[in-house]
Each structure stands twice: as C-alpha cells, then as structure tokens.
Symmetry: C2
C-alpha cells in the first residue's frame, strides 16, 4: 500500500473495510474537539526521511491533551476510520506512512510538555511529542542521565521512540527504550485512556500493558506520555577509537574488556573501512583518526563515577600486547571525544549520500556474528559481485547495520532487480543464525512480510489475537506490523 | 475460594462454567501423554509455605516436555478444566493454590534441565523447573553473573519467578526478573506453543509477548523455558551495615552514594530495630553487628571489577562526617559479609516465627517513602495501639515489607477483627502516595480485590480484554489476578 521509489520485500495490506475520513466527519470532529488543530496534509507529515516513500492522509490531527486523543480515537473507531500516529517522523520502516487514502494522521507534536522532573525519584514525566534530546537535556539539568542515544535524537520524539522501542548506542549498558520506562499514559482504539504513569521500579499488579504497547508501533494504542527512568550521571568517561583485525577480534576484545572492566562499558561500536571511505568522499574535512585506513575499527566508551578512563587505557595497553588491537587513539579532551563520535554518527549520512541498494538492521547472537559477516559477504557478492558492503553498528548487542551499495560510478537503480534477492539472502542467513531481521528499527510496513516469514507461528498467532482484542476494527496504524488481522 | 486460617481482604471468584477433571478425563489424558506423571494430590502441592492456606486439586500433572504441556492444555481447554501452574510453591499471595474442586495442578518440576549455557552469548537457557540457585551457580560456573536474588532462591523455580516477575535485593542495579529475560518458550491456553527463545539484546519484530506472559502469574500462558541474560561477574564487592537516623536519612545516604559511586550500588536494604529484636529472640546466637541497637539500619553492597570497596569506605567516611550515618561495620572478609547478609535474610524467618497480623508488600516513589512510614505507623497505631511494626526491605526500589505483629504476649488470632482495616489503611495510604500494593509478590488470589480497587479503570479493562482473548475459556490459573473475566 506504500508507494515506493524502489522495489523491495514486504506485503502491505490495508483491510478495505476501513472507511475514508470524509469532510463531514472532519466537521463533526472539529465540533467535538475544538482545541484540536486539523491541518490539510502536507509534505512535513507525508515524506519519509530518506525520500523513499510518500504517504497520504485526509487530514493531520494535532491534539494537545490526552482527552482529545481519546475523543478522536473513539469517533474514528465508531466510524471505522484508520489513524496513523505520528511522532518525529524519523522511522525507517514506513511505520508512519501509508498510501491508503482517507486515513487520518494523528500527530503528537502539540503534546510536548515535560510534566515533571523529579531527581529524588530518578524520574522524568514527559509527553509523547518531546524530543529525545530535550529529555536528555532535562535529565542533565536535574543532575541525572537519560542514557538512550540514537542518531535522530534531535528530531525523534518519545512517543515514536517508545512506539518502536528504539535502541541505539547505549543499549549494551542501559538497555533498549522499553527498559527505561517506568509507566505510560496511552489511549486505546475505543478511546479508553490508560493512566499508568507510575514512578516505581517495582509494581506487580497485573499484566504489563506498558511493555505490550511499547514496540507495538501504534497498532495497539497510542502512547501520549511516559514516566522515564533517570540514572546517576557518570562523572568520568573514557573513549577510544581502535583498529581490530576483524569482527571476531572485536568480540574477543569486548569479552576481555567486560572481564576486566565490568559493566562500565557504555558503547562498543564496530565500523568497516567502507563507511569511513564514504565519509572521506563526502566529508573531506573529517580526518581519519587512525593511520593506514584499517579494515575494521571499534569505538569504545566507558563511563563511571571515577577511575574508568585510566582503567580503559590500561586494559587497551594489555589488549595491544595481546594482539587484539593494532592501533588506538584515546580521546584526551571533550573535543577529541566529540570528533571520534562524530565519525561514528556521520556514517549513516555518508550511507544516505551514497544511496544504498538495500539496508538491513539485523541482530544475531554474539557467537554467530563473525560467521554472519563472512557468510553474508559471500552471499551478497554471489548476487551482486561489484557491490560494496558497509557493515557497522552496535556490535556489543549483536546488532549490525549491514548495508549494500553500488560499485563506484554506478547507481542503485541499476541494481533494482537484485534488491529482493539480496534482502532475502541476508534475512534468511540472519534467521538461520538465530537472529532478528529487525533489531531496532521495527517492522513498520516495510517488514510485514518478513515478520510473517520468519516469526514463530505460535507467536504470530498470539499477536493476531491480541491485535483483534485490542483493536477489533483495525483502525490503529492499519497495515503496520501485522497484515491479515481478523477484523471485526 | 481459598480456605484461609485467618480473615483478610480479597475476593476470589472462580467461574463455575469450568468443569471438574473427572477420572475418565484423567484416563484419556494418561493415554494421550503417557510420559506425563499423574500423581494424586498431596500436601507438597497444596500447602502454602507459611501454612496460611490449603488448596485442592483433582490430580497433579508432571510433564517433562513442552509438547506434553501443549497436549495437556489443549485437552483441558476443550473440556473446560482449570489448570494451576506450579513452580517451587514459594509464592506468598495464593497464586499457586485454589480451593476450587476439580482443577488440575500442572507442576513444572520435571522440566528442570539447563539446556544451554553460552558465556560468549552472555546467555543461559533453562527450563521452568530449574531453581534460581541452580541458575546462579551455572552462571558462576560459566564465569558470569545471574544477579537476581530472593530469599527463597533455593526452592523457587524459574517458571514461577518469571510468572510472578520476582524482585529481591538486586533490583536496584539489575532490574526485576523480567529485565533479565531474553526470550521465552511458553504454552497458551489452547495448546499453542510459543517458541521464542532468542539470545538477542535487540529484537523489534512485533509485540513483546515475553513481557506480557512474565508477571501474568500463569493466567495467560505457562512459561516452560527461558533464555536468561548473564552479566559480567564483579571481581570485587564491598558490604557495610550502617546505623541511620530514619528512612529519610537512609534515602539521603542513597542519593549521596549514587552521586559519588554511581551504579556500583547493588543492594541498599533498610531494616528496623523490630526485625533485629525478633532475631535476638529466636536466633540468640546471631550477634547484632552494631552497638546500642539503633532504630534504623541499612545494609549496602557495592560490586564492580575493581576499586569499589575502597570507594565505599571513603564515601561512608564522608557520610559519617556529614552526620548521615552514626555507626558502621564494613565487612573485612567473606565470612563477615555472609554474616551481615544473614541478618538481613533471616528477618523474614523471624517474622514468620513471630506470626504477623498482616503483611504488606508495597512500593512508593522514593520521595514519598519517609512520609509513608510515618503516616503508616500512625494509621496502624490508631487501629491496633499495641501492635508492633517491622518495616524493612528494598528501600532503593521504594519497596518496603511493612508487617504488623501482635504485642509481646499476645497472638495474632486476638487481632483477627482488625486485619482488614489494617490492610485497607496501609493500602489506601500506598495508593494515595502513588504506590503499588503489590511491589514484588504479585496479585495471586490474595490481592484480586486490591487490584480491582486500586487499578486504573482503563488498565483493568484492557487486562480483561487480553485475558478474554488469550484464554477465552478461563482455564489458566482461574481466580488469580483477575476476577469477573468475561468467559467464552
């Protein structure tokens, strides 16, 4: 149901029993919720960040209270009108866009209040439209840390971050988005408001709706606010950029550092030379931190109250003697630290400017990771011998962004016929190795077919039963995550 | 529906549309699953650990494979027969016991295999009948840490621990049971097997059934195995037993230590003099570690790869000068550490031997904790002026075990008329302060009425919809967690 500028895998089904939002319906809505802004559709809400897809909508609804969200959903549910929840719009799997006509986009951008910041409870309560960066800043202002960190944090909003259970660079130590949530406020398809903004680490009173709604990509309910966990703010950081032999060597290093340093390792990011070559092409002022342009690199960061930077330096010295690393730069200042991180964080932009044939967001058990890279490269080269592969990511979590690019001088359109077979080969291999074909980006509409292909049948069946129970008319983000949901 | 030796709050409803398990049904079952042991009911399966309640059952089913669990549930579902899942039997809220006749107890004790221990994946896969202690030991054998720790760990099994989302003394640092689970294998009411034993930190492919089943107390499905997260094993620990002025002082100390030491604080347990007085009565050989029998005490433990014990000593020295602590003992050996922990861990046994009028397992936001203790004490004394209060627990999580005991020379039967009003007063106060009336023990059958009284109506409604969707005949642990579930 998405219109796409390129082929690819995925089946998008929007059950046609949904009704379009008519002008008459929008008039009734305007009377029922006069404080809600009802805007005509425009590019801001309908363009995918990389320009891959364009969505449609009858109108953009912009409520500012949970009560108005409730009224909107109740009326849409009664009329059988589809609703697409919209956060910062940074999702990469088409979860925020549909090409089905007549749906309503429900933007949370006007629910952007930090309702409370209570350092003594290690808690901050924010509305769905607050950006991740604003939460990080508010936590810092309170002398605490909100550790989640993703490339799009300046734009991505808490509602979408929780809807998709975002991951990022600090999962190794602090977990995924869901692990940082104490409570939520949400609205179900029939308008039922769930007010469960607890500030408790421990609460065993019934089923965990919080975790069910987090990661459901707006298909079971719309999260309007959350109480988030804050952590002690580490006083000291240590950051190093390293040359390693290969992915297996990176993992040996990780295990060694974990043994010697414990849980102070906050990030452990793998990079391949290809990503830095793209940077050299598009960002010539960005200097390579290491000599001899090594094939594989790691960015490691530790943080703690005290002593961790020296401990990292000692451990890396020993790793050098053991032959686990062949070159290293340790950040000696905040500016150097920022420069090292800038390399890692600009890699996605270099990828975007190059234009991928196909991107993959996979995870495999750590013990399978080196095998995945070796076999994946063979599979891709058998399909597209001249393609370039940029493999990078959160290797401490077993999560790699494994992206395939055209040969120099060619463009991705020339590989259009190969896209599906590349993706299928990479995803089949991931599945064979016990991995996930969507580690942190979610299913959206792009990976609906993958979910059906690779998911355990029992799990899929239970997911459909839950969707049917919580959204019997199928109005919530129709076509995302699950297709073929029994409706009505 | 429970028979109880004492009054108390709670409404237990078992929908009478359930059918009893007849001898003819058990014969059919024996033919369908010949490897399943079908035992007559006996005290082992029907006695509550403190002797508070006695359950009933038509038979005890003891399968050894997930496939047999599936067949059992499919047949029970078709016949409309209730099934009570049974782990180690250590639950404190009657979740493993019913007085309804004709139900079947399904014990997981013969599914007790550690299927895999893979330190390079930081993962261990275990069946439901493995004890927590066995998991801790297997993790240690693999050079890793499984941090969950509860008083009943030698008996409590992983199935029940996940079914109830157990908490314990290490939640402050490592989270609740659910936070340590990578994947599960489970069977739904209709026999559907969910095989989702992933070993991944990141997997965003659809709804999180793992977290829905964890903490559902066997009412949505029966967990038969789990892949659990292992962590780096800290090489160093520091442990201290401290005198503090009061709960507010304990929290000030916690915030100070968090600021200075960061996340190395693994446990922060509050104790009141009353608990140690009980120990002095029943365990006269257990020496008090501090002089002058202070009213409030804290057991703090730090753990890390290196340096944390010295850092704790320094921080406590500063806290002493600031007046936050008035006395302290630091463990100088493993034996001393064990002795300090033995005091904390024997307090529940002292309570049991004294015999509580009413126990409470509450949590409140940290900022409300001191207020809770002060007002709770006033409320209880207004109802039972001579009662003794032992308030202790995981104060770093805001989780207190707030237990009320008879005056010396009196017994709890004399307070029978006051039980309900004491519990209601404590729970009303907890709710008023934004807390939970079941922080870590779950709802079981004992707190079904509390769940209905205090839960957000929208949350309760959604929980009922999920129960009806996943267990339409209401066979799974009937009468636990939710009453009044629409059946069929």
């Amino acid at each position: 149901m998405l219109s796409r500028d390129s082929g690819g895998v995925g089946s998008y089904r929007l059950d046609m029993t949904l009704a379009p939002a008519t002008p008459a319906f929008l008039d009734r809505l305007a009377q029922a919720v006069p404080a809600v802004r009802i805007d005509p559709p425009s590019a801001r809400w309908l363009e995918e960040p990389r320009g891959k897809w364009t969505g449609q909508a009858a109108a953009i609804l912009r409520p500012s209270t949970v009560e108005d969200v409730s009224t909107i959903l109740r009326m849409c549910n009664e009329a059988g009108i589809g609703v697409i929840p919209y956060g910062g719009g940074t999702g990469l799997v088409g979860g925020q866009l549909t090409s089905a006509e007549g749906v309503l986009v429900l933007s949370l951008d006007r629910m952007a209040t930090i309702r409370a910041s209570v350092p003594e409870d290690n808690m901050i309560e924010v509305e769905a439209g607050v950006t991740l960066q604003a939460v990080q800043q508010a936590a810092a202002d309170a002398g605490r840390l909100f550790p989640l960190s993703i490339a799009s944090e300046g734009t991505a909003c808490i509602g979408g971050i929780l809807g998709t259970n975002a991951g990022g660079t600090a999962v190794l130590r602090y977990g995924n988005a869901r692990d940082l949530v104490l409570g939520i406020e949400a609205v179900l398809a029939d308008g039922t408001i769930i007010r469960d903004l607890k500030r408790l680490r421990k609460d065993n009173t019934g089923y965990d709706l919080r975790h069910l709604l987090i990661g459901s990509e707006g298909t079971l309910g719309i999260i309007t606010a959350a109480s988030l966990r804050l952590l002690p703010r580490p006083a000291q950081r240590g950051t190093a950029f390293l040359a390693v032999d290969n992915p297996a060597g990176a993992l040996s290093l990780l295990h060694k550092l974990h043994s010697e340093l414990g849980e102070v390792i906050t990030a452990f990011e793998l990079m391949h030379r290809q990503g830095l070559d793209f940077l050299a092409e598009f960002f010539p002022n960005m200097a390579h931190p290491l000599e001899n342009n090594p094939e594989w690199m790691v960015l490691v960061e530790v943080s703690a109250a005290t002593g961790c930077a020296d401990a990292l330096q000692d451990a890396l010295g020993a790793a050098f003697e053991d032959g686990l690393i062949s070159d290293a730069v340790l950040a000696q200042s905040e500016a150097q630290r920022d420069a090292l991180w800038a390399i890692r964080e600009t890699i996605p932009e270099g990828n975007r400017m190059t234009g991928a044939i196909m991107s993959h967001d996979i995870s495999v058990p750590l013990s399978q990771l080196a095998d995945f890279v070796a076999r994946g490269n063979e599979l891709v080269r058998a399909i597209a011998p001249d393609a370039r592969i940029n493999c990078f990511g959160h290797v401490g979590d077993g999560n790699l962004h494994y992206n395939v690019f055209p040969a120099p001088g060619r463009n991705r359109a020339e590989y259009k016929e190969l896209q599906d077979s590349i993706q299928r080969a990479v995803h089949d291999l991931t599945h064979e190795l016990g991995g996930s074909v969507s580690a942190e980006h979610g299913v959206g509409r792009f990976k609906v077919g993958d979910l059906e292909r690779y998911s355990d049948p029992g799990r899929l069946r239970a997911q459909r039963a839950i969707k049917a129970a919580m959204d019997p008319n199928g109005i919530l983000n129709p076509g995302a995550v699950l297709s073929g949901v029994p409706l009505g």
